[in-house]
Every structure is written in structure tokens, then in C-alpha cells.
């Protein structure tokens, strides 16, 4: 009997991610998203630099997928929700958690993990041992996105 329960439990555990797939793209409840504590940095966060990183096509490249309140930028992607109002929808800790590794929140996400130094499969040599953004940049972008409250 205990074996049966074990098998059922295992089946439920395996079904979890499958059920999670159905919800891809569906709005998530604010309470369901974990928070991440501020990263250790050498200086206080700079939201203006965060904005520059967000629109920079080589550093944050956020606008490849997201749109947002950046009227000076010609091309905005539509693969992901608008960044407008991000600071209303999420706490700073939740924004930071999404930036650090969004797959921890949704395993099927297309959002790259911005602060994961172990890299991906067949990581390009030029990127070995480096996260997409460093701790200061993560804090800058977090501080900037938290200001988007319209």
C-alpha cells in the first residue's frame, strides 16, 4: 500500500510541470511569485543606468521581447508582457527574482537567466563564467523597473 502511495506521489510530482505548462502566458498571482533578496554590490543602485541597460540591444536587450514606455526606441518585441506597470504588478524582490533566473518561477519561460554564472548548454566561449548582467546591473535594472508604476 505504501508502495502504491509512493507511486501515486511520484506521478503527481511528475504531473506538476505538465500542469504548469498549460498556464504558460497566463497571468500569475502576485503572491505566487517568490522574492529574491538584494545582491551584494559595490555601490547603491542607479535606476537611470538600469533604464540604459533595459534598452541596450547588447546588454539587457529587454525590448527584443518586451514593449514598454520607451518612445525613443523604434522596435519593441511582442513575445512577452509590456514592462509598463511592472512596479505595480511586482515587488522589487519579485522583479529581482525574475531577472536572476526566471526558470525558477516558470520552467518553460523564454526569458534568459540574467544572473546565472554556470551558463547554458554549449555556452559560447566568450561568455564562460559570466552572467548576462553583473550584480550591480541587476540591482540597477531592478530599481528602474520598480519605478514603472503607470
Amino acid at each position: 500500500m505504501r508502495r502504491v502511495a509512493l507511486v501515486i506521489g511520484l506521478a503527481a510530482w511528475l504531473a506538476g510541470p505538465i500542469a504548469g505548462r498549460v498556464a504558460v502566458g497566463a497571468p500569475m498571482e502576485k503572491g505566487a511569485v517568490p522574492e529574491a533578496a538584494p545582491l551584494a554590490t559595490s555601490r547603491p543602485p542607479d535606476p537611470a543606468n538600469g533604464r540604459r541597460i533595459v534598452v541596450d540591444r547588447r546588454r539587457g536587450f529587454c525590448l527584443l521581447c518586451h514593449s514598454g514606455p520607451f518612445p525613443e526606441e523604434r522596435f519593441h518585441g511582442d513575445l512577452a508582457p509590456s514592462l509598463a506597470g511592472a512596479g505595480l504588478r511586482w515587488s522589487e524582490g519579485q522583479i529581482r527574482a525574475r531577472l536572476i533566473d526566471s526558470t525558477a518561477i516558470n520552467p518553460d519561460t523564454i526569458m534568459p537567466p540574467y544572473f546565472k554564472s554556470e551558463g547554458g548548454y554549449r555556452l559560447g566561449r566568450a561568455f564562460a563564467g559570466k552572467p548576462i548582467l553583473n550584480a550591480e546591473e541587476i540591482e540597477d535594472v531592478t530599481a528602474f523597473l520598480a519605478t514603472l508604476r503607470d
Binding site: 513575445l79 523564454i110 534568459p112 547554458g120 555556452l123 561568455f127
Partner: protein, 262 residues
């Protein structure tokens, strides 16, 4: 007890396979669109007119090379195959294919290279060289408008499956799988670019971005460096497996090689 352990092992094995690959639904056959169909009308017009399609310069060079015998006294392509129109009709639509003599699975450039070394006693032209791309373009033209045949129908299902696993594998610092863009998000805007479905119907093709004619491998390499991954070496079996899967995925779509793309 033994049976339960076996069941657990089977379930865990299934879980580990699933955890590796991105599982998003494929594109229904009726919803498939080639890159030609989804690109802008100006580039479509450039491809439709053979006099403005820059890849046709490669075709002309390839046709000249087809009947030019090497200096070592060995035959030209035409010496064995005869007229390119008749001999190469529908051939590209059936590639990649298994070489009857060696048993190796070859893509079309690999097949031409094998012919050059085995039958013409030449050192084969390198991949991405103008000469090899030209011959490939001249041969591919003879399948224009014909349906791409599924590699599984010629016994290549193993490679198709390996290719699908790669297609679902997340790669590089951006941690993206082919399927996440080309199955789940085609038609959407990635910055200023519409994501195509990624069907290899037109290779070799002239890309305006490259300002040259290039191969499917070159295009796939661009995608891997785009997600900040280390591309496989030129001619690696992974490229062939990916091509086999992509050709299976595009089976029945019309070949439009040699194409033009933005």
C-alpha cells in the same frame, strides 16, 4: 517489488527525458508557412524574378562547373550524370540521403564533396565556398516547386529523432531552444524582426543580411551564436541531424531553392 522498481525506473527515465527538452506543440501542417510566404513583398518579388534573384548567379556558375572536366582527366559531373535538368530533377527534395556505397548519411553539399573526391580525384571544395554553393544551387533549382520528401520515408528516422532532441534543447547563455521561437512564437516580433517558422525550403539561398549566398548550416550557426552558444564544428553530425528533423517537419512543403531571404 521488482516490478515496482522497474516502474519507478521507467517513470524516472521518462522524467529525465522530459526535463531535457522543451515541450511545446509543433505547428499543424495546415498552419505551416515557408520563409518565402512570410517575408515582405519586395523580397518576394526579388526571388520570383530569376533576373533579380542574386542566387541565380550561383546557379549559372554551378551549371558551368557541372560540365567542366577536371584537369586530371577524370570526368565532369555531366560525364557521369549527363544533362543536369534530367539527372538532378527532384534530387534535392530527397536530401539528406544515405550514400549507397559508404552507408553514410549525407546532405547535398556532403554528397557533392564525396563525388568530387571519390569520382573526380579532387580535394573536395570546402563548405561555404562559392564553388560548392554554386553546384548546390544549380542542383537544388531542379527541385523547385516539388514537395520536400520526409527523411523518415527513406529510413532516416533515427537522425530525425536526434535532430528533434536538438531542436528542443535549450542552448547557450540565453538558454533558448529552437522550438521556443520557431514553434511557440513564430509570427511575433523579436525586436524589429518577425520570427519565421524556420523551414529549410530554399537553401542554398541569398540573404540580404549576408549579402551572399549561404547554406542551411550557416543559418543554423547564426541562431546558435545568437543565443550565445558555441556552434558545432563545420560538417558535424549534429547539423545533419537538425537538417533531417527540419526536413521532416517541412515534408510536403514546396522547395523554393535557391531562395532570397531578408
Amino acid at each position: 517489488m521488482g516490478r515496482i522498481v522497474a516502474l519507478l525506473i521507467a517513470v524516472l527515465a521518462a522524467a529525465s527525458v522530459r526535463a531535457e527538452g522543451v515541450q511545446v506543440p509543433g505547428i499543424a501542417p495546415a498552419d505551416r508557412r515557408s520563409g518565402f510566404e512570410t517575408m515582405g513583398p519586395d523580397v518576394q518579388a526579388m526571388q520570383r524574378d530569376d533576373f533579380s534573384n542574386p542566387a541565380m548567379l550561383g546557379v549559372a556558375a554551378g551549371e558551368a562547373a557541372w560540365s567542366r572536366a577536371p584537369e586530371n582527366g577524370k570526368p565532369a559531373c555531366s560525364g557521369c550524370h549527363g544533362d543536369i535538368d534530367a539527372a538532378m530533377r527532384g534530387v534535392d527534395a530527397r536530401y539528406p540521403a544515405r550514400d549507397a556505397k559508404s552507408g553514410a548519411v549525407l546532405d547535398l553539399p556532403g554528397r557533392i564533396q564525396t563525388c568530387q573526391s571519390v569520382n573526380q580525384g579532387l580535394s573536395p571544395q570546402p563548405r561555404e565556398s562559392d564553388g560548392l554553393l554554386a553546384l548546390q544551387a544549380a542542383i537544388a533549382l531542379r527541385s523547385r516547386g516539388m514537395p520536400i520528401e520526409p527523411p523518415s520515408a527513406r529510413g532516416l528516422s533515427d537522425g530525425v529523432q536526434r535532430g528533434e532532441a536538438l531542436y528542443r534543447q535549450r542552448f547557450g547563455q540565453l538558454n533558448l531552444a529552437c522550438a521556443q521561437c520557431h514553434d511557440a512564437n513564430w509570427g511575433r516580433a523579436l525586436g524589429g524582426t518577425r520570427i519565421p517558422q524556420g523551414h529549410p525550403t530554399g537553401y542554398p539561398l541569398f540573404r540580404l543580411e549576408w549579402q551572399s549566398i549561404g547554406s542551411l548550416q550557416r543559418r543554423l550557426r547564426n541562431c546558435l551564436t545568437g543565443v550565445r552558444a558555441e556552434p558545432f564544428p563545420s560538417g558535424a553530425s549534429e547539423w545533419l541531424d537538425l537538417e533531417l528533423f527540419l526536413r521532416e517537419r517541412a515534408a510536403g512543403m514546396a522547395s523554393d531553392a535557391p531562395g532570397v531571404r531578408p
